[in-house]
């Protein structure tokens, strides 16, 4: 089992108290699985992704275990995690456009970074050059400064750097949102190729754009207001979602081919709850058309079908009767 997360809870310290950004998240990734992590802004997907590698203040670790390739990693220990960072777990940040030191040649930065982690630059150089070819970047880019590269080139450069030590888990945080469509597609497909060539064993792709995940992810985890709503293989999330929130979310996405005149799509009324003191029970309760008295109690995140997990009492009961 490549990645195992149990009951992960992380809060955000703010001036007005702790925002309960992520609560008792539990899920697993099989070897080679690319998991899409989606949800609306403020649902906690970034908190989940970052807590696996960069759990720095103002994020506060509360509870939970994380295992990568069977070995528990101390995500609460910012210093201790250094040994795992970059080698076992790596991150392609959202701010990839200016993630590289502006006043260092890119090659020099990579060398200094690698040597600071005890890796000799000349051993890695041939592999680095091969990967530059793979992402269509000229080798001269190593002698250039970040400012001389276009947005798309910088994005791909950071992808190569982050995955250079073949980490077991690579987390990509909203890496396609700032790109034009053509480069977006190229970058997304390169991610898949990194997995196929086993540069990385697993990928977590954090994005709000579900249609990108449909193209490249094996499974999708939907989050709502700090808790896991549903995790399932991509096809079943899109075509047969079980959680009411996922169903409404998918139906609210305008697809090319849907015209206002013919079919008036429906949004989800109301707003997600503030997580300073979230509501008890199921957090989608106020906006959910199927809400009933049992929703006052927090629904468990259970496997109703092979690899199909959902946190909703309605589904729980259907599963219990069928089971």
């Amino acid at each position: 089992m490549a990645l195992k997360v149990e009951n992960l809870t992380v809060y955000y310290q703010t001036l007005r108290g702790d925002v309960r950004a992520l609560e008792h998240a539990s899920f697993q990734l099989a070897d080679g699985e690319i998991m899409g992590l989606a949800g609306e802004s403020g649902c906690g997907k970034t908190t989940l992704g970052h807590s696996l590698i960069v759990l720095f203040p103002p994020m506060k670790y509360i509870s939970g275990r994380v295992e990568v390739d069977g070995e528990e990693i101390p995500i609460w220990d910012a210093e201790g995690m250094n040994t795992h960072r970059f080698r076992k777990i790596s991150l392609i940040p959202q701010y990839a456009m200016n993630a590289m030191n502006p006043i260092r040649k890119i090659g020099v930065m990579i060398r200094e970074l690698l040597e600071s982690r005890g890796v000799h630059y000349k051993d890695i150089l041939p592999e680095l050059k091969r990967r530059l070819d793979l992402v269509a970047l000229p080798h001269e880019v190593l002698k250039m400064y970040p400012i001389e590269l276009s947005g798309g080139m910088k994005q791909r450069m950071v992808m190569v750097i982050s995955s250079l030590l073949n980490p077991s888990l690579l987390i990509a945080d909203e890496i396609t949102s700032a790109l034009d469509v053509a480069t977006q597609k190229a970058v997304a497909e390169m991610l898949v190729e990194f997995r196929d060539r086993e540069f990385v064993k697993n990928l977590i792709v954090i994005t709000h754009d579900i249609s990108i995940l449909y193209q490249i992810a094996d499974s999708i985890l939907i989050m709502y207001a700090g808790v896991l709503a549903e995790k399932a293989p991509t096809r079943s999330i899109i075509e047969s979602p079980r959680h009411p929130y996922t169903r409404l979310l998918i139906s609210a996405l305008p697809e090319v081919g849907v015209r206002f005149a013919e079919k008036r799509l429906q949004g989800i009324p109301g707003n997600p709850p503030l997580l300073l003191n979230p509501p008890t029970g199921c957090r989608f309760r106020e906006r959910c058309p199927l809400a009933y008295e049992r929703c006052l109690e927090e629904p468990p995140f259970i496997e109703v079908e092979r690899d199909h997990f959902v946190a909703c009492w309605k589904e729980y009961e259907n599963h219990a009767q069928a089971g």
Binding site: E40, S41, A136, P138, G152, M153, D180, V181, A182, T183, Q184, K185, A186, A188, E189, H208, D209, I210, S211, I212, Y214, Q215, I238, L248, L249, I250, A252, L253, P254, E255, V256, G257, V258, R259, F260, R264, L265, Q266, G267, I268, P269, N271
Partner: protein, 332 residues
């Protein structure tokens, strides 16, 4: 209603205006009464610049913009104010459209002071509440609150309510829903579509093809400040002709179709782009002449225009150029 005639915008960049940057290049299109036209282009295509020129926030370097037949460049003082009584804009970032130190509903007070001083406060209060409920907001929940206490969706609806108060006839919506979440985005879009029923014509500026298809009747596709294709939305989306439009259609991630595997990314470095077709440096089917002269916009089908050498002859329905199988992957 609104017509752009060869409108261009040239920016002076570099020290003491050394270099000239062509942001918009001889753009012409029309928006008729009660029609929704979407202006589609990626960042840097000049779509927002066009929006700002229509709203007179920027002056056109060349060409003219006509509103009901009058050249808007000539409007000054009262005439400009009158123009703003009929043409308004809503912008992309809801939180940047509000002055943070005032309450959100101050925008109504400003409209009251500037455009309807003669209307009494009580009467104005009623109009505001009517406008707010017609955009799906409960006045009690949203009035006298600071912008940071309202959600993005609510703030955008505020701006639409403001436009309703002026009962404008033309709205420039510049990426108004790109900052909103999927669930609230659709409701704001439906709201815009409902306004059409009041006879409101809308220029919907966006980079998202599916949104444009959902709401507009005609589409104008921009690339680096030039119109590459325009026409009826079904035609453009079902039979895209220009290589750029086709690339857009193929690259946009969809929920019903997987991407074709091949990556047709081409990159020719072109010294100065002034001459020739703007898409030459990335076009997989470009020819020598494409680098020399810029192809004009030609009507190849009823209300379906394209600017590409491959459709020069203006023959009737030309077989759409097949791009599949062009796996030319060079430097990007």
């Amino acid at each position: 209603m609104l017509r752009l005639d060869k409108v261009s915008k040239i920016y002076r960049v570099g020290a003491f205006g050394g270099r000239a940057l062509l942001a918009v290049n001889k753009v012409s299109f029309e928006v008729h009464k009660g029609q929704v036209v979407s202006l589609i282009g990626e960042s840097g295509s000049g779509k927002s610049t066009i929006g700002k020129m229509i709203l007179r926030l920027l002056n056109a370097s060349e060409g003219k913009i006509f509103y009901n037949g009058e050249d808007i460049a000539g409007f000054e003082g009262e005439a400009l104010k009158n123009y703003y009584r009929q043409v308004q804009g809503v912008f992309q970032d809801p939180f940047s459209s509000y002055n943070p130190i005032f309450k959100a509903d101050r925008i109504f007070k400003v409209v009251h002071e500037e455009f309807f001083p003669q209307v009494s406060d009580a009467e104005w209060g009623e109009r505001v509440e009517k406008a707010l409920s017609s955009v799906g907001l409960n006045p009690a929940h949203v009035l006298n609150k600071y912008p940071h206490q309202l959600s993005g969706g609510q703030l955008q609806r505020f701006l639409i309510a403001r436009a309703l108060l002026l009962n404008i006839s033309f709205l420039v919506a510049d990426e108004i829903i790109s900052m909103l979440d999927a669930s609230t985005r659709i409701d704001v879009l439906n709201l815009l579509a409902d306004l059409k029923a009041y006879g409101l014509s809308i220029l919907f500026i966006t980079h998202d093809l599916s949104l444009a298809y959902y709401i507009s009747e005609r589409a104008v596709i921009l690339y680096k400040g030039n119109i590459v294709e325009q026409g009826a939305v079904e035609k453009i989306f079902n039979t895209p002709l220009h290589p750029y439009t086709r690339m857009l259609m193929e690259s946009v991630p969809r929920l019903d179709r997987k991407w074709e595997k091949e990556i047709t990314l081409v990159e020719r470095d072109v010294e100065n782009l002034r001459r020739g077709c703007p898409y030459y440096h990335r076009c997989p089917v470009a020819e020598k002449r494409c680098a020399v002269d810029q192809p004009p916009l030609v009507e190849v089908d009823e209300d379906h225009w394209v600017a590409c050498v491959h459709y020069e002859s203006g023959a009737d329905l030309v077989k759409p150029l097949s791009l599949a199988g062009q796996d030319t992957r060079t430097v990007v």
